[in-house]
Symmetry: C2
Subunit: 334 residues, 2 copies
């Protein structure tokens, strides 16, 4: 059901299972024990970073299937996204499987965009199970959006570190412990910032816009949720987001965190401002957060995935970096 201007109430959409496969830095971070598998090396025994990312995505998807006692025959639709030009991870991975495929791209908001689309397909009774496969890899993304990592350029404090994480979630109409109850679609918001080494701040206004619309559409306050997380604003982006929320009297001081600051220990792990990348939010949410929900720590959680919607060519044409944020709410079924 459509709610307000930008939101949906989903009837019958549940999380079946999920899996997260990460790189060495993520595995050494504070959430290490919650991930399904962690590699010691970002090459994952492959000859290129691209192929390493594809391999990690394959493993995450096969693990999610295994954990849910399903095969690709049970999956009516796969929705995939990543940060590589032309989202090649899903394109190359899913050629090996007999499964219906759609690619999405809203940068680091792709994960929740995929969940919103999948939930609509299930809501329309057009699928029983939809798999959403989203990944990012430090080597592929840093080279493409900023500088090759071998270049060894000095990084400003505002820069985020792209998370190496492949994530898979299977959502479906079969009842489970955790239900996807609500969704809010984002708008493209551009505050005319243009620093590709400060993406956290470029996305903060979009995160505020989506949170505001979500609360207005459902006529609720921030206290509705035990936990609200944004995707990858990290240290400086989170700070700007909180400033904007404060200025608009949205109280987030007790139940808010950013996944870019959860996945690494910023004090010791040399990640500058924190984590980013489209594997960041689902990497945290589909491992640690679901675990906490299943163990009774959180009952209602709002996930707000944030994305920076530029490319290097348009920045070279002196353009700014627009942002977007998509949200879904998870709820423990009593």
């Amino acid at each position: 059901m459509k709610i307000g201007n930008s939101s949906w109430q989903f009837k019958n959409v549940y999380i079946q299972e999920s899996a997260v496969v990460v790189g060495p830095k993520e595995n050494a971070g504070p959430l290490g024990k919650y991930f399904d598998f962690g590699y010691d090396d970002v090459h994952c025994n492959e000859k290129s970073w691209e192929k390493a990312e594809i391999k990690m995505a394959q493993e995450a998807n096969l693990l999610a299937l295994k954990k849910s006692n399903k095969t690709f025959k049970d999956i009516d639709l796969v929705i995939s996204g990543d940060l590589n030009n032309q989202i090649i991870v899903g394109n190359y991975l899913f050629r090996d499987y007999d499964v219906n495929y759609m690619g999405v791209f809203n940068a680091c908001a792709s994960s929740i965009e995929g969940v919103l689309i999948g939930a609509n397909v299930i809501d329309a009774s057009n699928a029983n199970n939809v798999m959403i496969s989203v990944s990012s890899h430090n080597g592929t993304a840093e080279r493409q959006f900023r500088y090759p990592t071998e270049y060894g350029g000095q990084k400003p404090d505002s820069m985020t570190s792209t998370t190496t994480a492949a994530t898979s979630i299977i959502i479906g109409n079969q009842k489970s412990q955790i239900r996807i109850t609500r969704g809010t679609v984002g708008k493209v918001i551009d505050y005319k910032m243009s620093d590709a080494t400060d993406m956290g701040r470029t996305m903060a206004p979009a995160a505020y816009q989506t949170l505001k619309e979500h609360l207005e559409d459902f006529k609720i306050s921030t206290s509705e949720y035990d936990l609200i997380v944004t995707g990858d604003l990290s240290y400086f982006g989170k700070d700007l987001f909180l400033q904007i929320c404060d200025a608009h009297n949205l109280d987030l001081h007790n139940n808010y965190e950013d996944c870019g600051l959860m996945i690494y220990d910023r004090e010791t792990q040399d990640v500058q401002s924190g984590g980013s990348g489209c594997g960041c939010l689902p990497g945290v949410a589909y491992s640690f957060i679901l675990n906490q929900m299943r163990n009774g720590i959180y009952k209602k959680v709002l996930l707000i995935a944030t994305g920076a919607l530029h490319n290097p060519i348009i920045l070279a044409q002196k353009e700014s970096i627009p942002g977007i944020a998509h949200a879904v709410a998870l709820e423990v079924v009593e």
Copy 2:
């Protein structure tokens, strides 16, 4: 309703309006009089090809709104796709409008991927109107996927010419003359071809796979449709597609054409094998084909958009080019 393995029967989805804005070569082609607007110059008075493509997309969307007596307030969701890295056309265009936004990418199959997603959202009663905005531009795409056009390299006969076309379609639950009745989602199909100057042939197996599944799922034959079109296989890709169909006893000799061969006069227009690009199929379908349907020439049409799912980085790593095709059926309402 889900039909067979890969298809959907849509309940209540109608084409509200559409608009197509093209470049000079398309405007001079055989379908010139059917387009809403054609530019004399591919720069469209902008300083870069990227900004030209954004401007054309804006015009197509505003024209579609105008023709349907709607504003962005009536649009519950915009779905956008293009061929630029990180699909920047929609990202930069829709920051100027207060509208919910999702980006999709399945290369030149993005147009029908968007329609399939939009139709699901409408089928779930989660939207009244969804706009799908898809564009391609010869200057932005040729530079990115092959060579800069200024380079002036000799082109092999198998090469297609990226269509300069911005297309917009508004689909919704309000009855109209043309209904979107059926959809079939594609799979990633890779016949291990790797020539980026012969993309038509790389996509032909995916077009066959989707057509075959569509016919099997709905238990129909090719004669069900007055017209079946593929997106942008062009001369050599169409030939391979017909060979594969012949080998599997699918008769397409009376009611099939490829949009890449419809949009240009290949004999006189210097486009090598024909047209390609994600504006190609919707450029033909949302102008000429809808016109013919409204004038009683065609009653049932199947659109099969075809996409090549590679990027230049992964080709440099000696990979092949996988393809995909998505289909929707249009039907004149009696």
